[in-house]
């Protein structure tokens, strides 16, 4: 039953990440969406994909976005 909550978290995180003006908050919300997709993979009987997505989607991709925001500007003009 709790997997429906993670589906909702994935979609809501995606929508909220695109609504932020602060791009650093946007990067963190991308990480939340990726982490809930990783938990959803576990419920869909794919534990190896869930491990990879948990590392790549919840840690590496937000760090890449944070580095890009650090090298450019933080607020969206």
């Amino acid at each position: 039953m709790i997997e429906y909550l993670f589906m909702l978290t994935a979609v809501l995180g995606a929508i909220l990440a695109l609504m932020q003006r602060d791009l650093l908050k946007s990067a963190i919300l991308v990480g939340i969406s990726g982490a809930s997709i990783a938990i959803l993979y576990q419920y869909l009987l794919a534990p190896d994909v869930a491990l990879t997505q948990a590392i790549v989607g919840a840690a590496i991709i937000p760090v890449f976005f944070a580095l890009a925001v650090y090298k450019t500007r933080r607020m969206e003009e």
Partner: protein, 120 residues
Amino acid sequence: MVIDVQIASLFTAVSLIIIGIFAAAFLDNLIKKVIGLAFIGDGVNLFLIAMGYKPGGIVYIYLPGMAAEWFSQNAAYPLPFAMVLTSIVIGASTMAVMLGIIIVLYKKRGSLSAKEILGE
């Protein structure tokens, strides 16, 4: 809950793809366009995983003591899982290249707005 997990996952994947296409097409900031492309990749991966799901099945790990016919009838379909594992890593690396190009573009033009860079 009346909706199946597989059908709900397919709806989640389609909504992620629609959100990503909207962001990549209509938003102005270049980093948000890249975020939209990342959501499109996530949605496609989730769609493939949800197609391979079997309701009431088991994880595709063959343990000693299982009958082969029972295993082949109850295990989830493992081919998209092996391919999606590659697709996730390739998606992350292409996104890193896109962000690098955006950083170089910001150093040359001094802006992240697509309209301002294209001169419209």
